[in-house]
Structure formats: structure tokens, C-alpha cells
Amino acid sequence: MKFSYRPSPNFRSKRHTSRIMMDLTVCLLAVLLCSAVSYSIIYGPAIGIRAILMAAVSVITAEATEAVYFKIRKMDIKKELEHSYGWVTALILTLITRIDVSYYALIVATILCIIVGKLVFGGFGQNIFNPAAFGEAIIMNNFAASKAADVTAKVYDTLSGGTPMAAMNSYGWIIEKANFPDFIQQFGGFSNMAMGGYPSVIGGSCAIVILLCGAFLLWRKDINYHLSCTYLVVLFVMSLIVGLYHGAGVEYALFHVLGGGVLFGTVFMMTDPVTTPISIPGRVIFAVGCAALTMILRWRSNLPDGVLFSILLMNMLTPAIDRLSDGNQIKNRKLIRNKVLGVSAVIMLITLLVGFFGIEAKHPVVSASGANTTALKDEDFAANAVECTAQGNGVYLCKAKGFEGVNEATITVKDGKIVGFEVTAFHDTPGVGDMATAEAELTRYNGVSLDSIIDATSGASFTSSSLRAMAAAALKADAGEPVSTAPAAAPEGSLGAEDFSANEPYCTVWTNTNKPEYVYKCTAKGFEGVNKALVTVNKDEGKVIAIEVTEFNDTKGVGDAAVAEAELARYAGLTLDAKIDATSGASMTSASLRAMAAAALNAAAGN
């Protein structure tokens, strides 16, 4: 009998690091699958399959890179691969990447994040930066242009406002309570966001699945709730306070949490123990710091989403944070607690100050992005319903719709150029729109002709567009062209003349890959609920091609008379000037359908 010596204890729990990594892998695959499925449904199977292929490519690259590295270092390849968990890094990297990133960029980023982000530090357990975040930063900084253009067109270009975070950015990161319903509509509401019905990064969409994975991992004690919960709570509370200060509501704070990479980052990246502090006090400070940085980066930088960089920045501070919790957790309990409270309070205070005084709401024209490239005479001011009356001597009194109200100006034209521009009545949001009417802004109109290009005033694009509309109209009037861009009244009894305001119709562009065919995703109130339809319109001809009801929430057996196939066929060829009868016996539902058709046609006409 051999009596071996082993230092005590000789009793170990069954839990193994490999099991934790397996749990993580399963969850990551679940998120990947969810994304692939929802992409397949929305954008077609090719996109869904692409998500899975990207993951496969990244995992294979990661494993191959590690194998080569271990081979060079003459280590036991099989054993080291098993204990290096490179596939987890690769999966996370894929899931925080956009679906339109080229395979080439993904492969290079994977190799770099495995080698530079992990192996050079000594491999698993030794790395300073979260390797996946490191890889994604490489993609963002160096491969921004390396995209599969067809995928970009299919997925991202159909969105009027961009990804949720880009949309937030265009609003100046504050969406006042009144504007929130419209804003969230772009993404189909919170429920749609929770189900992944909007594109962001591959793994960023399926909030529900990510939350379930988080709950599962917490239950298995694979991840740490001190970090994840503190982060979410602090992020929510701080955005709530800042939001309330700026007139936004609870929804705004919720949007901060649901949109972008917050949930995925919380469950899968911030909880990576290797690159985060070890002790609980350290983790709390880390989480508070991450939440603060996420907010500040979102508000004050041009990065699409602060989560990733907040993690990378805090990673650098991890050793220092660890040192903060030096000591004996029992004997120095109060000291450590005070340190945590003090540091957290300072961080939060700074964040709130930035939030209070560093940001300002904007009201972007959803379609106007970037600098203007269209000459004044070619710009489309249909929405401004501009009118000018000549006062003689080249002086024109003009009116045009801005954001909330109608603005008025007196414009003097001489030799086809503006020589005087004075705003006589201003009815847009004070503090926002008046940026466009500031004196310095108005001087830009001096000497402007119809061929000039005038950029919108950033942050006040609606008001700015009303000013430009008036400028264009005055110039045109002086040149003897017709001035009123107010749409001609639709013929009596026609679809365009009907009043559907009770139905609250709303349309967004769904796809436009088949120009001039545009598919609009529309919603409108019917009798009991909100009905939804996809309306296909020929934009050039202003005609409905087809209408397809995607969701029917009115009374079964009554309202559905209006959505019968034969009834829907009646919409083909419909224009705003044509008349369409209500379906008898189902007038409310029918009204919702007509409202959607009208809204889609109006949207196509640019009204």
C-alpha cells in the first residue's frame, strides 16, 4: 500500500472552471441562435446563416491561433487548448460585432485579440483586458470600412434612425417624455426591442434571451451578482435622475439599459472574472465606474456605445481597485465600506454633473444626416408648407412650418441674392430651435442664391429647414416661380382627404431594396386594438401595390371582414386621390386599414 502525501485539505467541491466555461458557452450559443433566427425572419435566411458562419469562423480562427502558439511554445496542445477557453472569447467577440463586418476583419481581430489580448500576458487568467472587448475595439478602430456592403444595405440602411444608440445620439442623448413614443416606435416599442426585432450588434438584440442566460448563470453561481446587478442598477438610476432633470421619463432610463450593448456586456463581459477585481468591494467599485463611464462615453463621445470602452478603461484600473480592498474583510470592514461608499459617491456625482450640464436635447430630422449636399433650389421643403407674399421692392413676407409651429420671416432679395433675413415670429421650441435663428446663423443667409448650399443648423434641424424653405421660396418668388409648396388639397372624398387622426396611423420604412418599391411597416388603431400591416408602395407613382395584414387585434368574426383577401385586393393601385369605400359591417377595422394605406402613401410622397 502506498501512502501519498498531499497538503490538506483533501476535499474539493465538484464545481470545475471547465463547467463554468461550458455553461457560458451554452448561453452564448443560445444568444447566437436567437439572433440568427430573428435575423432570418426579418432579413431573410442568408443573414441568419451569416451570423452563424461568422461565429464559426471566429471560433476556428481562435482555436487555430492558440494551437499554433502552444505548438511554438512546445506545450501540450490538446491540454492547453482545453484549458484556455479560446472559443468563449471568439463567441463573445462575434456577438459584439455587427453582422455586416467582413470575414476578413473578423479573422484579423480574432487573431489579434487572442494573441495580444490574451496569450502575451501569459494566457487565460493573466490577461489585463477583456480580450473580446479588445478585439471589437480593433474592428471599430481599424476596420470600420471593411464591411459586406450588401448586408449593410439589407440590415442597417432600412432603419430611418440607425441603431438605437445612434438614434439616441442624434437626439443629443435626451429624449423628452413627449417625444418618446415616436422615438421608440422606430424600434417597434419595448416589446419588439426585448425580442430582438431591431439590428444592433449580433448578440445585442435578444434582450429576453440575454436576461434568461443571466438568470441561469446567476443561479448556477457562474457569474457574480455584485458586479452585474450593481452595474444595471447604477446605470438605471443615474440615467433616470439625469433624464428627469432634462424632462425625460422612466422610459428613457429603461432605453439606456435595453438599447445597445448594456445587457450583453453585463451578462457576458463585465462578469469575466479574469479582468475584473476579485473582492466584492472591488467589484462594486468596478461596476459603479463602468456605469459612470458608459453614461459619460455615450453622452460626450462619438462612440456608438459606451459599454465596451467603459469595460476596457475599467480593466486598466482593476489592479488599483483590488488594492483598495486590501486588509482583512472582518477587521477592516468599516474602512473598506467607507472607501467603497466614498469612491462610488464621487464617481456618481461627477457623472450626474456631466449629465446635468453636459448634454442637451436635440430634435433631429430623421432623414437628414450629415452635411447638406443639395442646392437650395433642389431641396425638398414639401413638409414645411411654405408661403411667401411679395411686399414690393424685393421684400417678401414668408411663413413656414418648423418643428412645433409656423415661423415667419421678412426676407429681402436683390439680384437673385438674399440681402436681408429677419425672423419676425418664432414658434418652435425655445432653447432648441432658436439655435437656428441666432444672429450668427442668420448672417449665413446673406448673399445666398438658389444655387447655394446651406447646411442645417445642427441640433435645430427642423427650425433650420423652415428658414431655408422660406429663403428658397423668397428667391423663387423673386425669380417669378410659383412659391407655395403646400400640397394641393386632395379631391373631396378621396383617401387623401379623409381624416384618420383617430386611428393614429404610423409608418416606417421596412425595406426598400427593390426601388422604387418601398415596404412600409404601419400600425393603426382599429376597433379594439392596434392592427399592423406591411404596405408596399410604388414611390414614384404614389400607388399602393399590396397590403398585407401582419397583426390583427380587432373583433374576430366582425373586423376580419375587412381583412379578407378579396377586401385587401381592393387596395392594389390605390392612390391618395382615389376614393375607397369602407368595408360595410367592419367600418372601424376598415378605417384602420385605410389609415395605414394613406399614411404609407403620404410617407412615400414625403408629406
Binding site: P7, N10, R12, I20, S279, I330
Partner: protein, 438 residues
């Protein structure tokens, strides 16, 4: 616990059912016993000569430095020599060899004693002369704790037995519940405490019931504690029962603790005039054929006990023989050591390879360390010999409870690394003291 600390304890798989219901084997009567002539680090002086006849209960040795502790013969027979070999504490020590004549002739070690009538001073003297020592593992002379009992609020009999596999205390209480009552009441009196209690794990339902019946009408309460490790450790138990932490000794928190088997031993001394000669010992583990509790004379060799329990399971060639339970007990690389009074188990496990991976800094060790340390950071600082940082991390507060190794999902010997860090600090301090002397 507060939000900023972990639980500082953890539930362990008890593995107690293996031996909990088996009968106690009492027939082991070795031909020779070796009495370790050591208590703590202090040697004990033999009081008999080679060739002397001894009986069960003859005083054969005593420790007489700043503490006093007599040792008594567990068998009757002849003293045949003194030999030096390794104890279950892995130190070299002299052992008194006694040839057993198997006659079991007894001598009454001390006269009959009435603990209830005796004065406090008489009781203390009795405890001292009866050779009572901490049977929970420390082996510390019992009377010392009671020398100055001031402002004691709670006297605690520790029947928690949180070490996995071990059921010796459980069996001992089961068989000697009346002696436990006598001993507990005597110690309670000695402690001058306001309240007294027996602390036991809440899952030992039947024993709780029996204890409640036995102690009905006495001032002793039965308090249950959750099945967590290391609930039997004094600091954890005191915190669990009183919500108080202390710096050095439990008396700072108004508590005095003794192990249940110590109380039983005292009961045996008071009622039967019998000193500590035998031990309840759990022999368990996955490599022993007949796991069970045994009742053996102090000084029995480990291999004789193993043989009496059926030996090792066939096919197992390589075992870990642990003196005690697998958490705090040490593996001894031979089976020639003898059972000392403070031993309470032999755990025999098959030697298995572990699948060690790199530390992932998961922090589990930090959250469960009952001393409030950060074992993983101690481990990292020790790797670079950062003495200053190790001191900031209070490395010397480690009690080597084994928790950090137990919870580590990367299967690292965290406890051993902390132990080495302690040794490193000790060595540094010693060399500095030497320099200072020069």
C-alpha cells in the same frame, strides 16, 4: 452578512451517512500502546520507569511547564520503553511503550467527586488534575480557559462537528448523553456564565430531540446552527450565536467554548472517576472497507485500527491516510503513527489526480474564507515574495481551514499556497529578530 462581504462559510457534502448509523467497534485491544509524550509543542515528563507495572488509570506522565496536564495509562501491563517517532501532528516525539496484558485491571485515578456541591475552586482543581484537554483537535488543557472567567455571558458546548466524514462526536453523544449532561453542567458552573448552550447542527434532528429531553429543567439551552463549514470553528460559532467578532480569545466576546467530547470526558471523570484513556474515532472514507466508528485506547497504532476495519478496499493501491477529517486533517505518509487524545478520525481516501487549471480570479475563495482573507491575492503576492503586501492582507490570520482549496473551481491548492506564505513571513520575521539580536 453585509452586501460587501461574502458568506464566509459554505455548505459541504457531509459524507456522514457512511458511518452515522453503524455500530461503534469496541473490541480493539492492541498488544502494545505508545503514549505520545507531548502536549501541543511541549514535552511531557514520564512518571514511570521502564519495567514498571501500570493499570488502567495509572498516572504515567505529566506536562509541567506553565500549564499542567497529567496523562493516564489506557491499558494495564508493563512499561517497556520509550521510542521516538512521528506523531499524527507530523512532529517527532517520544512515545511511552506499554505492553498490554489484556487484563484491564483498573485503578481509580481520583476519588469520587460531587461537582454540584464542590466549590468553584475545588471544581477547577479537579478539572486540572483529571487531565482534561480539548478533544476537538486542539489538545489544549481545559482548566486554563476557566482560570479567570469574568463577564462571561454565554458558555457554549460545541457539538457542531462540521468536518466532513466525522461522526465520532455524534456517536459519543448518542452513547453518553448523561455524561454529557454532567460534564456540561460542571463546565457551565466553572464558566460563571449567565447562559449556557449546546450548539448542534440543525440537520441532526434526532439528537436535538434527545438533547432537549436530557437538558430539560437545566439552564442549558439547545441551539441549532446551519449546516455550514466551518461552523464548528470558535469564531464562526460565536458569531453565529452572538453576532459578535473578537480579536484573540472568545472571552473578549463574552464566550467560553468547549467541545462536546471534552464535556463527556469530564462527565466520565466526575461520575466514574475515569480519566481520558480511550477515544471515539471515526474511520471513514472511500478507500476503507468497513467504515465505522471505533472506541480505542489512546496510543493505538493507525494500522491496527485500519486492519480492524477490514483494511483497504481491494484494487486501491495508493491512498491518502488522513489524521482527522479531509478538510483540516493532515495526510500522513505512513500508517505507523498512534492515536493521540485529540484525534477524532482517520479518513482514508483513494489518491486521485486533480485537473488543475489557472486561477480565473473568480473570488470564491475570498467570499468564503471564514477569516475574511483574500486567499487568491495572498497567493499572488506570495508568488512574488511581496512581504509588505502579504502583511497588508493579514496572511497570519489564516487558520488553515481548507475552505479556499475546497471552493476553488480551478482546483488549485490555495490553502497550501497561503500556508507557504505564512511560513515565508515567519521565516522573514525570525531572521529579522536574529539580526536585531546581533
Amino acid at each position: 452578512m453585509s452586501f460587501l462581504t461574502g458568506p464566509m462559510n459554505h455548505h459541504l457534502e457531509g459524507h456522514k451517512e457512511i458511518t452515522k448509523h453503524a455500530d461503534v467497534l469496541k473490541t480493539i485491544d492492541p498488544d502494545v500502546v505508545w503514549i505520545p509524550l507531548v502536549n501541543g509543542n511541549a514535552p511531557c515528563k514520564p512518571l514511570v520507569e521502564i519495567g514498571d507495572e501500570v493499570k488502567v488509570g495509572t498516572k504515567i506522565a505529566e506536562r509541567n511547564d506553565h500549564f499542567y496536564l497529567p496523562l493516564f495509562s489506557p491499558v494495564s501491563g508493563t512499561v517497556t520503553g520509550i521510542e521516538k517517532f512521528m506523531t499524527s501532528g507530523m512532529a517527532q516525539a517520544d512515545h511511552l511503550r506499554i505492553q498490554n496484558d489484556h487484563k484491564h485491571t483498573e485503578v481509580r485515578a481520583f476519588p469520587a467527586f460531587d461537582a454540584e456541591k464542590a466549590s468553584w475552586e475545588e471544581l477547577l482543581e479537579f478539572v486540572k488534575n483529571a487531565g482534561m484537554l480539548g478533544l476537538g483537535g486542539a489538545g489544549f488543557p481545559t482548566y486554563v480557559k476557566y482560570l479567570k472567567p469574568e463577564n462571561v455571558e454565554l458558555f457554549i458546548v460545541n457539538a457542531v462537528e462540521c468536518e466532513p466524514y466525522l461522526t465520532a462526536d455524534y456517536k459519543n453523544i448518542e452513547e453518553n448523553i448523561d455524561l454529557l449532561k454532567t460534564g456540561t453542567l460542571a463546565l457551565y458552573k466553572l464558566s460563571k456564565a449567565k447562559k449556557g448552550c449546546v450548539a448542534i447542527k440543525e440537520d441532526k434532528k434526532e439528537q436535538i430531540k434527545a438533547l432537549k429531553e436530557t437538558f430539560a429543567g437545566t439552564p442549558i439551552e439547545i441551539r441549532t446552527v446551519p449546516d455550514l463549514y466551518p461552523m464548528g470553528w470558535e469564531r464562526t460559532l460565536v458569531f453565529q450565536l452572538t453576532g459578535r467578532r473578537y480579536d484573540k480569545l472568545p472571552i473578549e466576546a463574552g464566550c467560553i467554548l468547549n467541545n462536546a467530547s471534552t464535556a463527556i470526558a469530564l462527565g466520565n471523570a466526575i461520575d466514574n472517576g475515569h480519566p481520558i484513556t480511550h477515544k471515539y474515532l471515526t474511520v471513514s472514507g472511500e478507500a476503507i472497507r468497513n467504515p465505522q466508528n471505533v472506541y480505542v485506547p489512546v496510543g493505538t497504532k493507525a494500522h491496527e485500527i485500519i486492519d480492524a476495519c477490514g483494511g483497504y478496499i481491494d484494487g486501491i493501491e495508493d491512498v491518502l491516510l488522513i489524521a482527522g477529517g479531509p478538510m483540516m486533517g493532515r495526510t500522513i505518509p505512513n500508517d505507523q503513527f498512534v492515536i493521540a487524545p485529540q484525534n477524532n478520525g482517520l479518513t482514508v481516501l483513494p489518491t486521485e489526480d486533480k485537473d488543475e487549471v489557472k486561477c480565473l480570479r473568480c473570488g470564491r475563495c475570498t467570499e468564503t474564507c471564514p477569516s475574511g482573507l483574500q486567499p487568491v491575492r495572498i497567493q499572488m503576492s506570495a508568488a512574488i515574495f511581496d512581504e509588505a503586501e502579504l502583511n497588508k492582507l493579514y496572511v497570519m490570520d489564516c487558520i488553515e481551514c481548507g475552505m479556499c482549496t475546497y471552493v476553488c473551481p480551478s482546483k488549485i491548492d490555495v490553502t497550501e499556497n497561503v500556508r507557504r506564505a505564512k511560513n515565508f513571513i515567519r521565516a522573514r520575521m525570525a531572521s529579522r529578530a536574529k539580526e536585531a539580536k546581533k
